[in-house]
């Protein structure tokens, strides 16, 4: 797996979405990649913001009868 591909994994790793082989490969890469280390910290903070938030499901519509006069 190329370094570029591993770098992209930082997002999935921040959210805990990698399966075991990919997780190990990314962590091995992480130890040698200061850029990934820094970005992981930032993206983990974003991931933390998602805690307790409900997913957005598309399809919500404004009430059509809403009018002001």
């Amino acid at each position: 797996m190329s370094a570029d591909t591993l770098h992209i994994d930082v997002g999935a790793h921040a959210l805990g979405l990698l399966e075991e082989p990919d997780r190990r490969a990314f962590e091995a890469h992480l130890a040698a990649c200061p850029a990934c280390h820094e970005e992981l910290g930032a993206l983990r903070e974003v991931a933390r913001m998602l805690d307790g938030v409900e997913p957005i499901t598309d399809g919500w519509q404004a009430r059509p009868e809403t009018r002001v006069s």
């Binding site: 979405l17 974003v46 998602l50 307790g52 997913p55 957005i56 009430r63 009018r67 002001v68």
Partner: protein
């Protein structure tokens, strides 16, 4: 959308109009159709505001929808009080919605006194609602993502699925899911910063 009246002074480079300046009064009759304003408020804030109000109404959706509608109408009537440079009107709308819920509750409890109509700009969301409001702002930021980015977060993080499982469900390569998750998080970070939330 934000067509200005011909008589309005030209905006200087130092003071560009804020995102809601078109909404800000006074405006000539017929300049911006009222229905357009309310529709725009609903488009941008309807869903995050509803999710916020649903928690105040204990999940009563009909009541919550009525509260959102009343909030939007008050926002339209109070356009001159809104901060046209605010990155988001959501804190203002959430505060107004909370007041409406409290007033409704008082009415239901058959207590005659109403909350006073103090200046809206002086109202603050109490501490207990900060977390709630944060989650609503995050929801709003999620709405600002592209549908593909929102979808990939829904199919992975929000459903507790690995990128491999999500790739299988979506019928796309794992590498594409990883890439979308990465760019979705980066976009979300920017969307949060734009809304004054620093992750």
């Amino acid at each position: 959308m934000a067509h200005r009246a011909p008589a309005a002074p030209p905006a200087t480079r130092e003071s560009l109009p804020g995102p809601w300046s078109w909404f800000h009064g006074p405006r000539p009759a017929g300049d911006v159709d009222d229905q357009v304003i309310v529709t725009e408020l609903y488009r941008v804030y309807g869903r995050p505001l509803l999710s916020f109000v649903l928690r105040l109404t204990g999940g009563d959706r009909h009541w919550a929808e009525d509260v959102v509608q009343e909030t939007m109408i008050r926002a339209w009537r109070s356009a001159h009080q809104l901060d046209e440079n605010a990155a988001s009107l959501l804190p203002w709308l959430a505060t107004v919605a909370r007041r409406i819920v409290i007033d409704d509750q008082r009415r239901k409890n058959a207590r005659p006194q109403e909350a006073g109509e103090g200046p809206l700009e002086n109202m603050h969301v109490p501490d207990g609602l900060e977390d709630l409001l944060r989650s609503v702002v995050v929801s709003e930021a999620l709405l600002a993502l592209s549908p593909a980015h929102r979808e990939v977060l829904n199919e992975t993080f929000f459903r507790d699925r690995s990128v491999n499982e999500a790739a299988e469900r979506l019928g796309i390569p794992v590498g594409t899911v990883k890439s979308r998750v990465y760019y979705a998080l980066k976009s979300l970070r920017i969307a949060l910063e734009e809304r004054g939330v620093t992750p």
